[in-house]
């Protein structure tokens, strides 16, 4: 595993758990877990804490294929995924027992669940990592990634990211999101200390750790920058901090100006980036010097990557060695790895005279709420299943709101909100639940999403 070898070569790499203060070097974590030497699947429910990281590194250097998922996923979603993919090991400290599994002590500190009956099924040699296409809907659809995908993207990112060998980096973005994963891989290869933390920017402990460890960088989605703004982060210098990174959609003008002023005044760099799970991380970045001039641009493709724009649809297409090996919807799909030449991003784009790219719209049926991708078709299905088969139509409104339309007058709006909150942990402030009498259809009888979207974006502009 080349990625693991690169990390292992960074001999002074140390991981510190901010909660317990425990530190472990990369050498101490090397093959620190007792796991059977099999070619099978492991599910790791991640919370960015040291034991989850140690489990990930142990399985990464082994023959296993890893499905990296969020620890907060609903339990029935977890069980459903486990039934479908029958992992041999499961790391999930939130549960005390799992049917069909026995708890085993893999080390003094780490308990794994091991499957009682080992099922043998083929897994393609390149299929190393499985990431969910949507973090929270519990969909069994995974993106298949190879070790080479991860290595290539880490190398491309390190061409522009000013990582230094004495850097201290907090894991404040979950590594089961591809953006958090790229922060993890690149800094494990080059930086000095990784601080495992589950604190966020609204907690005093986060800022106490920031000072104590001297964070060199912070990263987050636009919403994270809203948080920083609200607590006045950009008003003063933070001497240890050298650079900030971002992904997950455009920042608003107020934030762009605040960050540009902050970077100018205190000599910090800000890297706006564009990426997708299917590209194993980053596809483009905006050089810090261009922030004020081209703040709404996703910038230029990363090294070894290039973009094309489809003549007819304006869809942005990415070509590079970090493009994934297709999706897995069922366990049998693990035996394949189809290296894709091109990635259809589902975003519409344009290119300016200087070669900078701008996202101008979206073809894919997704919305990004708080920087997290939500698949609209899956959400429709989830509501239909939960509420008894009625029709729901979901649309994103300017990446700010999820609009849920229903046609059955007997349905209770409160109930719909409750389901969305329980299943997807969505806050009502980001939801618009709307009753509509008729569903507008296209000439061939499909829901006319563009028409609905247009009217919603006008009403809620």
């Amino acid at each position: 595993m080349e990625l693991y070898d690169l990390i292992r070569k960074n001999e002074k790499l140390i991981f510190t758990d901010s909660g317990t203060g425990i530190s472990k070097s990369i050498a101490e974590m090397h093959q620190s877990l007792e796991i059977e030497n099999l070619r099978s699947v492991v599910f790791i429910y991640n919370d960015n804490q040291l034991p989850a990281i140690e489990t990930l590194l142990n399985f990464y250097q082994s023959r296993y294929t890893i499905a990296l998922l969020g620890m907060g996923l609903l339990e029935d979603f977890k069980e459903n995924l486990e039934q479908k993919y029958t992992p041999y090991y499961i790391y999930d400290p939130t549960r005390t027992a799992i049917e069909g599994y026995s708890a085993v002590k893999a080390s003094d500190t780490i308990i794994l669940f091991k499957r009682n009956v080992n099922l043998i099924y083929p897994i393609h040699a390149k299929t190393k990592l499985l990431l969910s296409t949507s973090g929270t809907t519990g969909s069994p659809k995974f993106v298949r990634l190879s070790d080479a995908n991860l290595v290539q993207n880490a190398k491309s990112i390190m061409e522009y990211m000013p990582i230094k060998t004495d850097d201290v980096v907090p894991l404040n973005v979950p590594i089961n999101f591809v953006y958090g994963l790229s922060i993890f891989t690149t800094n494990c290869i080059k930086a000095n200390k990784i601080v495992c933390t589950d604190k966020d920017a609204f907690q005093k402990e986060f800022w106490a750790d920031f000072k104590k460890y001297g964070y060199s960088t912070l990263g987050g989605v636009p919403y994270f920058y809203e948080m920083l703004y609200s607590i006045g982060f950009f008003k003063k210098d933070h001497p240890s901090l050298r650079y900030l990174t971002h992904t997950g959609g455009m920042l608003n003008q107020k934030l762009i100006e605040a960050i540009a002023e902050f970077s100018e005044k205190f000599d910090k760099q800000f890297f706006a980036q564009y990426g997708q799970t299917e590209a194993c991380g980053r596809m483009a970045y905006l050089p810090p010097k261009d922030l004020l001039r081209k703040g709404t641009s996703i910038g230029l493709p990363v090294k070894n990557g290039k973009f094309e724009i489809d003549n007819e649809t304006d869809e942005l297409i990415y070509i590079g060695p970090n493009v994934f090996g297709g999706y897995a919807n069922i366990r049998a799909d693990l035996q394949f790895f189809e290296q894709q030449e091109k990635l259809h991003t589902g975003d519409k784009a344009r290119k300016d005279d200087e070669g900078y790219y701008y996202i101008v719209g979206r073809i894919k049926r997704i919305v990004k709420l708080f920087g997290v991708r939500l698949n609209l078709d899956e959400t429709e299905l989830l509501l239909k299943d939960a509420l008894g088969g009625q029709t729901f139509i979901c649309l994103g409104i300017n990446d700010k709101h999820l609009a849920v339309m229903y046609t059955d007058q007997n349905l209770n709006k409160e109930l719909i909100l409750k389901v969305l909150k329980a299943k997807l942990n969505l806050h009502a402030s980001s939801l618009k639940v709307i009753f509509i009498e008729d569903v507008p259809l296209t000439p061939n009888g499909k829901v006319n999403y563009p028409l609905l979207k247009e009217s919603l974006e006008v009403s809620y502009a």
């Binding site: 966020d200 920017a201 609204f202 907690q203 005093k204 800022w207 919403y223 809203e226 948080m227 609200s230 607590i231 006045g232 008003k235 708080f370 909150k421 942990n425 806050h427 009502a428 402030s429 980001s430």
Partner: protein, 80 residues
């Protein structure tokens, strides 16, 4: 409405929980409903209900219902 009922109403709206579930012991990130998203909503609700502008350093101090009561006192609102 008493001042305490009014305040509990603010929490209930921001976190979308029943008003009976609000008590002094509630802490940030200790319940699923009080996360960073609803914290921003809470700040807005408090600002509009009491017609105040909460100082940035106070936002980091707002770690529990009890602490928020102390902070409101600073802004001239005695909750009891």
């Amino acid at each position: 409405m008493s001042t305490i009922e009014q305040l509990h109403g603010v929490f209930a709206r921001a976190f979308e929980i029943p008003v009976e579930a609000v008590n002094d012991e509630l802490e940030y990130q200790a319940i699923a409903e009080w996360d960073s998203m609803s914290h921003l909503v809470l700040v807005e609700e408090l600002e509009s209900t009491y017609n105040i502008a909460i100082e940035m350093e106070d936002i980091l101090e707002m770690g529990s219902v009890a602490k928020i009561k102390d902070i409101l006192k600073k802004y001239g609102f005695e909750i009891n």
